[in-house]
């Protein structure tokens, strides 16, 4: 089922790539608590990706598994949101990226938990609990740092401005999304926007941050047209599987 396969890649790849970005913080976070929390978020996301990609491989039925999908596709085969692949830069960008993503992810998983496909619903139900916790945490950080010192406020505002152009893509569906929604596999992307928007506006207001009025135009993840950073991320992530194709690990 091509629509289901593609839908699973989209969900799974976003989790995988964001999980990878978050994992880059390991040992370098601003506090020990954040070292733990970031590792935890990365772990959850990569765990979810393993389930989504595992199901995708099963649906595809071409003899691939989750690892083959994660480690043997080139950038053009990835379906993650561009937001997920944005480089960490400073902790402000990391936190803001997480919040903007979590707020969408929570809405998406709520929809997927009601999927007509019971395998999808089951994974979504598990992931949903984890993501509720991620969102709780990223909200707290956005508010704490937005309404913190002048420096932390400025950095959070800059991070928001930087990432805002990427926040339109999650809600802009294509034919595959329409077919998935039609089949009841996944929610219609556009339908997730009001909930996301309300959450984001409320949190940013409490964080004393100003919503940018710039265009939310960046997109391409659905069709595998990513930014230049993804190729470099994959070169690192996939090195061992590429260099030792015959090995098991």
């Amino acid at each position: 089922d091509a629509v289901l396969f593609e839908t699973l890649l989209r969900v799974g790849d976003s989790a995988l790539i964001l999980g990878h970005r978050v994992s880059e913080w390991c040992g370098h976070a601003p506090t020990l608590e954040e070292d733990i929390a970031q590792a935890n978020v990365a772990l959850d996301l990569i765990g979810q990706a393993t389930l989504w990609l595992g199901l995708a491989a099963e649906v595809e039925g071409a003899g691939r598994d989750a690892d083959a999908l994660a480690f043997r596709r080139d950038a053009g085969g990835f379906r993650n949101l561009l937001l997920a692949e944005q480089p960490n830069r400073d902790f402000a960008v990391t936190v803001m990226r997480q919040f903007l993503f979590d707020a969408w992810h929570a809405e998406l998983l709520a929809g997927l938990a009601a999927s007509t496909d019971p395998r999808v619903a089951e994974i979504a139900a598990k992931a949903r609990k984890e993501v509720a916790y991620h969102l709780d945490r990223s909200e707290t950080l956005v508010i704490g740092l937005g309404d913190g010192t002048p420096e932390s406020h400025a950095r959070m505002q800059a991070a928001l401005t930087r990432l805002w152009p990427f926040t339109g893509e999650p809600f802009r569906g294509d034919a595959t999304d329409a077919a998935a929604a039609e089949a009841g596999i996944a929610p219609d992307p556009a339908a997730l926007e009001p909930g996301w928007r309300a959450r984001v506006e409320a949190v940013l207001a409490e964080a004393t941050l100003t919503l940018p009025d710039t265009a939310r135009f960046r997109s391409g993840g659905r069709s595998g047209v990513h930014g230049e950073a993804l190729g470099l991320l994959l070169a690192e992530m996939q090195f061992l599987q590429r260099a030792y194709p015959d090995a098991t690990w």
């Binding site: 995988l16 994992s23 390991c26 010192t149 420096e151 061992l240 690990w249």
Partner: protein, 311 residues
């Protein structure tokens, strides 16, 4: 000894636990702060060599296991800093001493992780040696430290098994993988033996620490135990311990083995190890780059508290 000191030593000798509010000699407190602080720093710095391979872990499952492990290590750092704080020193003070080079961390983390097999070797050998050191410390005289050790030991033995599992997969894998496994053992063997410290006869603090039950076994006892446990594991993997003089000594019921190069040990301790500079730099950058975050969150918490107070 003063009467207080005598009474204190009696409690220890009876196997009683010392708790934070109890009277204790200044030397006991200082030694514990140094020891627990070093241990905490080791957990924190220890994230780095393994963190180096998280982004390159070869499967999704191995990646998750490694992430969970590094997360545990940060957690151990937290427990230990908390234990140290009961002795009247804050985590920030300890961190600043680390970053100023006034406190140490385990020298093993100054060796690089160069292949994926090194992640196996770190789990198998480094965590193995750490457990050997830490298991007896569950019975150490200072209550908060002993309790932290109980939690830590449970997780560490889990980590060791995961490391051994990586080594097993590599040792039974392709020729390249087997070569990486052997190379990892070659590079980590002697540094692991160094983890127990120099022979006790060369160690100034050992006798007092053992009397205080801050230290339970001698370094040489633990090293022997480690070798005796590890050699059969290596054989089971089909790997060779890089020590031509390793031989079973029936009489003592243990292996005879070569000592590590202790001059290397002292060089690494002085800062001249392969990664000392990189490790300290990474921690200093994390601390400095993170200052605005800590300050921002603090400022927000204060605003909150003030708003509450005003209500």
């Amino acid at each position: 000894m003063t009467p207080e000191e005598c009474a204190f030593q009696d409690r220890i000798d009876r196997g009683e636990r010392i708790e934070p509010k109890d009277w204790m000699p200044e030397g006991y407190r200082k030694t514990l702060i140094r020891q627990i602080g070093q241990h905490a720093h080791s957990e924190v710095v220890g994230q780095l060599p393994e963190g180096n391979w998280i982004t390159r872990a070869p499967t999704l499952e191995r990646k998750q296991i490694l992430l969970a492990k590094v997360q545990d290590e940060a957690g151990h750092g937290l427990y230990l800093y908390s234990a140290a704080e009961t002795l009247g020193v804050s985590r920030d003070e300890l961190t600043e001493m680390l970053l100023a080079g006034k406190m140490k961390y385990s020298s093993i983390f100054n060796y690089p992780t160069l292949t994926w097999a090194d992640i196996g070797a770190v789990g198998w050998l480094v965590d193995g040696a750490a457990i050997m050191n830490q298991v007896p410390l569950q019975r150490t005289s200072y209550g908060p430290y002993a309790r932290a050790m109980v939690r830590i030991c449970k997780e560490e033995s889990f980590h060791q098994r995961q490391g051994y599992s990586i080594m097993m997969t590599m040792a039974r894998g392709t020729a390249d993988q087997k070569a990486m496994a052997q190379d990892a053992l070659n590079r980590f063997w002697y540094p692991s033996l160094m983890m127990f410290g120099p022979s006790d006869k060369d160690s100034v603090h050992s006798a007092q620490s053992m009397a205080w039950k801050i230290k339970i076994n001698t370094n040489d006892e633990l090293r022997q135990k480690f070798v005796d446990q590890t050699v059969p594991q290596a054989r089971f993997l089909g790997l060779e311990i890089p020590d031509p003089d390793l031989v079973w000594n029936e009489e003592k019921g243990g292996y005879d083995f070569s000592q590590p190069d202790w001059s290397e040990f002292y060089e690494v301790l002085k800062g001249n190890g392969p990664c000392n500079a990189e490790r300290m730099e990474a921690r200093i950058e994390a601390w400095e780059d993170g200052a605005w975050v800590r300050e921002g969150l603090m400022a927000h918490a204060e605003k909150r508290a003030a708003a509450h107070a005003a209500e």
